[in-house]
C-alpha cells in the first residue's frame, strides 16, 4: 500500500471524524493507501509541518492557507469537505452586546491567534473597529485553549466553534438564554474552514496525484459515513484519542454539529465560497489579511478525478 501522512489542525476529535472513520472502516485500505493521521495542537502550524516535509496533506483553514501562500509558501487547496463555517463569537448577555455594529466598541473580545485570527480581523475591519487597543476600537485578548475568559468574565465575548467551545460554555452551567452568539456565516464574513491542502509541486507528480485522488475519494466516503452515523463516528474518534481525555457525550454532540457543516459538500470546492472568502479577507480598511487576490490557490484537478 502507498504511505500517506495527514496532519490535522487540532487534537483528535469529531471535527476530524471523517478521516478517522475512513481509516477505521478500511476505506483507505480499499484504495490501497496506508494513511497516518497526526493530531495537531495549539502550537502546531500545519502549513509549517507541510513545508518541513512532516506530512503530505494537511487540514487547514483557508485564511491561514492564503496568508501562507502570500508569504511564499505555495500550498494549494485540493478538496473542501466543509461547506459551512462553524466559527462564532459568543457573548454574555449581561455584557450588553446585542448588535455587533454598535456594541463591540470598548469591549474585551477573546480571539484565537496562531493563524486563526484572520477571520476575526477581517470582520472587525468590516465593522471599522480598530484592534490595536486604541480607545475607539476593541480590546483583544489572546484566548487560550479553553473558554475560561467568559466564565471568569475576563472578556465580554470569546471565539467559539458551533461544535465545540459553545457547548463547553453550556456545559459549564451557563444557560443558552444568558448568551448571545454571532455566527460568522450570518454576519457575511464566513471563511472556508477545514480544507485539505498540499504543496503545489506535489500536483506535478502523477504518482502523487493518483494517491491524492484515492485519498480524497476515501476521505469523502468517510465523511459521508460520519454524517449519517454520528454516534459511531464519535466512538471511532474516541478509540483513536490517545490522551484518553475525551468523553463520548461531548464527541457525539460534536459529530452531530459537524455533520451540519459538512452537509452539502461532496468534497469539491465551490468557487463562489472561495470568492466570498477571498473578498472577505481582501476587504476592509488599512490592514487587509491578504493584499491581492491569490492565483492558483486551489485546484479542482484532484476532486474532478475523485468524483467521477
Amino acid at each position: 500500500a502507498d504511505d500517506l501522512t495527514l496532519q490535522l489542525k487540532w487534537v483528535t476529535q469529531a471535527q476530524f471524524g471523517g478521516y478517522y472513520v475512513a481509516k477505521d472502516k478500511g476505506f483507505y485500505e480499499e484504495e490501497g493507501l496506508n494513511v497516518t493521521i497526526k493530531p495537531g495542537g495549539p502550537d502546531i502550524a500545519p502549513v509549517q509541518v507541510l513545508a518541513g516535509g512532516g506530512a503530505d496533506v494537511t487540514v487547514e483553514w483557508m485564511p491561514a492557507a492564503l496568508a501562507a501562500r502570500e508569504k511564499g509558501l505555495p500550498i494549494v487547496n485540493i478538496a473542501q469537505p466543509f461547506k459551512k463555517s462553524g466559527m462564532m463569537l459568543t457573548c454574555l448577555k449581561e455584557s450588553g452586546v446585542a448588535d455587533p455594529k454598535t456594541d463591540f466598541k470598548g469591549k474585551t473580545l477573546g480571539v484565537w491567534f496562531s493563524g486563526n485570527e484572520y477571520p476575526f480581523l477581517s470582520w472587525m475591519n468590516h465593522l471599522g473597529l480598530k484592534t490595536d487597543g486604541s480607545p475607539e476600537g476593541v480590546t483583544v485578548l489572546k484566548q487560550g485553549f479553553n473558554v475560561d475568559p467568559i466564565l471568569q468574565k475576563q472578556a465580554a465575548c470569546i471565539s467559539t466553534m458551533t461544535y465545540n467551545e459553545y457547548w463547553q460554555v453550556i456545559d459549564a452551567g451557563i444557560k443558552p438564554e444568558d448568551l448571545v452568539t454571532f455566527k460568522y456565516d450570518d454576519q457575511g464574513v464566513a471563511t472556508l474552514e477545514d480544507g485539505l491542502y498540499v504543496l503545489e509541486e506535489k500536483l506535478n507528480d502523477p504518482a502523487m496525484e493518483d494517491k491524492l485522488v484515492r485519498f480524497v475519494r476515501a476521505s469523502m466516503k468517510g465523511w459521508k459515513y460520519a454524517e449519517e452515523h454520528p454516534e459511531e463516528a464519535a466512538e471511532i474518534v474516541l478509540e483513536n484519542d490517545e490522551t484518553g481525555a475525551q468523553t463520548i457525550e461531548h464527541q457525539a454532540r460534536m459529530a452531530g454539529e459537524i455533520a451540519k457543516l459538512t452537509a452539502g459538500s461532496n468534497g469539491a470546492l465551490d468557487e463562489a465560497d472561495y470568492k466570498r472568502t477571498v473578498d472577505t479577507l481582501l476587504s476592509g480598511g488599512s490592514d487587509p489579511v491578504i493584499s491581492k487576490a491569490p492565483e492558483g490557490a486551489w485546484s479542482s484537478a484532484i476532486t474532478d478525478k475523485a468524483l467521477q
Partner: protein, 287 residues
Amino acid sequence: MNRVVPVLTVLTALLLVWYVGAVALNAPWARDQASRAGDSLTLPALVHATMMQERPVLPAPHQVAKGVWDGVAGQKITSKRSLVWHAGITLSATLAGFAIGSLAGILLAVGIVHSRVMDLSVMPWAIASQTVPILAIAPMVIVVFASMGVTGLVPKAMIAAWLSFFPVLVGMVKGLRTPDRMQMDLMHSWNASGTQAFWRLRLPSAMPYLFASLKVAIAAALVGTIVGELPAGATAGLGARLLSGSYYGQTIQIWAALFAAAALAAALVAVVSGIERVTLRRMGLAR
C-alpha cells in the same frame, strides 16, 4: 519516622489553606448559578456548592485526590485513561533527556574548565541558548526531526536535554573550580596531569555542586518533556493530558495530571537525593 509528624502538620496546614482557597475562588460561580436560578445560598449551602462543582476554578483537595485515584487505580495500567500509562511515557523521555542533558552539561563544563577557548566561547552562547523560548521552537524542533523521519521519544528528549544541560553546566563549572589554592598546588607539585587532577581533586570537590544542579536539572527535564508533549501533537504523556484537560476546561483532570507530574518530579528529585546521600557518605563528605 521523625519525618511523619512534621510532614503531616505542614500537609494539614496546606490542605486547610487549600480548602479555604477553594471555597473563596469557587464561591462567585456558585452564587452566580444560584442567582440565575433565582435563589440565594446560605453559608453551609454555599460551602457545599463550592466543593461539588464539575469545573471548579480551584478543585477541592478531595476532588483532585479522587481524580488521581481514578487515574491511577481506577484503570488498567495500559489504558489510555490511566495516569500511570501517561506518566510512563513522560518518564521515559524525561530520563533520556536528563541523561543526554546532564552528560552534555558535564562534558561542556570539563571542557570549559580545561580549555580557555571553550571558556571564552561556549559560556556566552550556552546562556543565549537558554533564553530561546523553548515552546516557540519546540514545534520547529519536532518539525525538523519529523522531516528527518525521527518521531516519538527522541524529539521530546532533545527538548528535555536542552533545558537540563544548563543547570548542570553552570553548577559543574563552579564546582570544578572550587578546589582551593593549596589543593591545586599539591596536585601541581606532584605534576598530576589534567586528567588526574580532574578525577582525584576537581570532581570530588565538585560533587556537592553537581548534585544540587542535578536535582534542578531532572526537574527541568520533566518540564522540558511536558513542553515537548504539547506541540508533539498532544498524543500521549502527562503534557498531553494536561493540555487536553485544559482544552476542555476539565480543571479536575488538569490538577490530577499536575499532581501526577509533580509526584513524578518529586520522586525523581528524591532518587537523585538518595544517590547524593549515598555518594557523599561513601566519599566521607557527609558527616
